[in-house]
C-alpha cells in the first residue's frame, strides 16, 4: 500500500523525490525541501495521511547537507505510516512550515527550532518552547556540549 503511495508521489512530483528506502517494513521518502508543503498537502488530500504523528530535526554533523527534518505521517483510515524527510543545509537552515497542512505541526516545529536551530518560514508563532527565552544555542545539535556551555566537561562515564 505504501508502495502505491510512493508510486503516486513519484508520478506527481517526479523531480522532487530524491530517495525511497524501506527498512523494517517502514517506508521513508526523501524529498526536496522547496516542495515540502505541496508534497504534504498532496499526501494529506490524495493519499489520506490526515495525521501528523511527529516532526523532528536530525543533526548529521560532518555530512552534507547537515540537517534532516523528519515528518512521521499516519493514515487513520488505512492505519498506515509513512516517513518523509527533507535535507536542510547548514548555511540556510530554513524550511517552509507545514502547520498550514496540519495544525499539529505548530509545537513540534517550535521545538525543532528551539533544540535544533532549524527555523520555519511563515510559522505563526516561532518562539522557543522548552528552553528559556533568550537562551543562546540549540542543545540538540551534535556540536553543543552535553554539560551545557561554559562548563567543565563531565569526567565520569556516561555509557
Amino acid at each position: 500500500m505504501s508502495q502505491a503511495v510512493v508510486a503516486k508521489l513519484r508520478e506527481a512530483f517526479s523531480a522532487d523525490v530524491l530517495d525511497v528506502k524501506e527498512y523494517r517494513g517502514e517506508v521513508t521518502v526523501t524529498v526536496k525541501k522547496e516542495e515540502i508543503v505541496a508534497i504534504c498537502q498532496f499526501l494529506k488530500d490524495e493519499a489520506g495521511y490526515n495525521f501528523l504523528c511527529d516532526l523532528c530535526g536530525v543533526d548529521y554533523l560532518g555530512q552534507q547537507p547537515r540537517f534532516m527534518v523528519v515528518y512521521n505521517l499516519y493514515n487513520i483510515t488505512t492505519k498506515e505510516r509513512l516517513r518523509v524527510k527533507v535535507p536542510v543545509e547548514e548555511e540556510n537552515p530554513r524550511v517552509d512550515t507545514v502547520s498550514t497542512v496540519w495544525s499539529t505541526a505548530n509545537w513540534p516545529e517550535r521545538e525543532c527550532w528551539d533544540l535544533m536551530g532549524i527555523s520555519f518560514n511563515n510559522h505563526p508563532d516561532l518562539r522557543r518552547i522548552l528552553m528559556a527565552e533568550g537562551w543562546v544555542g540549540h542543545p540538540l545539535r551534535k556540536d553543543y556540549p552535553l554539560q551545557g556551555p561554559d562548563r567543565e566537561p563531565y569526567q565520569g562515564r556516561l555509557s
Partner: protein, 392 residues
Amino acid sequence: MAKKETMTINMGPQHPSTHGVLQLVLELDGETVVNAVPHIGFLHRGVEKLAENRSYHRALPLTDRLDYLAPMSNNLGYVLTVEKLLGITDQIPERAKVVRVMMAELTRIKSHLVWLATHALDIGAMTVFLYCFREREQIMDMYEKLSGARMTSNYFRVGGLSLDLPEGFVDDVTSFIDDMPGHLDTYEGLLTGNKIWQKRTVGVAPISAEDAIDIGLTGPALRGSGVDWDLRRDNPYSGYEDYDFEVITRDGCDTFDRYKNRLDEMRESCKIIRQAVDKLQPGPILADVPDVCLPPKKDVVNSIEGLIHQFKIITEGFKPEPGEVYQGVEAPKGELGYYMISDGSANPFRMKIRPPSFVNLQALPKMVEGKLLADVIAAIGTLDIVLGEIDR
C-alpha cells in the same frame, strides 16, 4: 458605551490545578477566556540529548521519568523500538510478551486512577480522590514487589524482562482485577449521575473530531470525539492482536464523554489483564540473543562466563546496524512514539520521543477560548497531561 478592557492573568507554574509546572497566560474579559497561551519547559531535562550519550540499555531508565505516572508504558515503547531496530521483535518469548501486556494494562489503570482522582478533585469532588489513591496504592505495591521501585520501575529489558514474576504476584493481580470493576462502579456512583459533576463536565471543553485530528489529539481524548482509533487494535504490538477487547468510543466531544471513556477503558484493561493471566505459561523471559540480552543474574554471580558476558554488554553495549524506525504504543494518555536512528554505534544516534501529552496540550487554547475561566481547570484535567513527558 463603556470601554472594553481585558485582563491578563498568570495561572501557574505554581498552581495546584495545572498538574505540574505548567504556566498559562490567560487573557480574560470578565470571566470569559479571550486568549490562552500555554508556556512549558520548566521541567526540561534534555532526555533526548542524554540518550544520545548512553548505550541502549543505559538509556532505558531515562524513559521511566517521562510520564512518571505510567513508567511501564514508556519502558514498553522504548524496548519495542530498540527491538524493532535490532530486528528481534519475533524472538521475544511468549511469557515476556504476556507479562508486558499485563503490566502495561495495570499501568493504564494506575495512570487513569490518578487522572480521575485529580480531575475530580480539581472540579470539586473530593471523596473520589481518596478512593482512587487507595486502589492505586495496590498497584504501587505490585510494582514494588515486581521491580523494587514504586514509580521508576525500569522493569522491561531489551529482549524481554529483567526478572521473572515473584511468588504470589499473579494472585495479587487476580484479586485486584476481581475487585476493580466494583470500585469503578463506586466512582461512577459518586460522579456519573451527580448533578454538580454533570454541570461541570457535560458540554465543557468541546472539540470536534476534525479539529481533534488536525491538532493531533490521541488516546482517550481523541476517542471522546468519536474517532475510533486505538494502536493496540490497529497496529498491534507485543501480542495485543491475541486479546479480545473493545475500543471505547463516544462522540459527545466533551469532558463528560472523555471521563466515561476512561472509566470504561479501565474495565477493558481488567478484561485484558484477566486474559493475560490465563495465557501466562512458564517459560523463558529473555530472548536468546546473547549479543543483546543481559544474562540472568544467577549466571553472573555463579559463573565466570556469565560475568564476562554481563561485563561485555554493560561496557560495550550492542550495536544495531544503521537504520531508522518509528514505533508507537497506546500509552494511557495517547500515542507514545519513539523515533530512533542508529548509526551503527552503541548509542542511539537520535532518539525523538513523541509524548502524547505534549501534542494533546496544544488543543487546550482551542478548547477554552470563549469559555469560562472555571472550565480551564476542567479542560486541563480532561486532557490528562503530565509535565514530565511534555518537557522531557
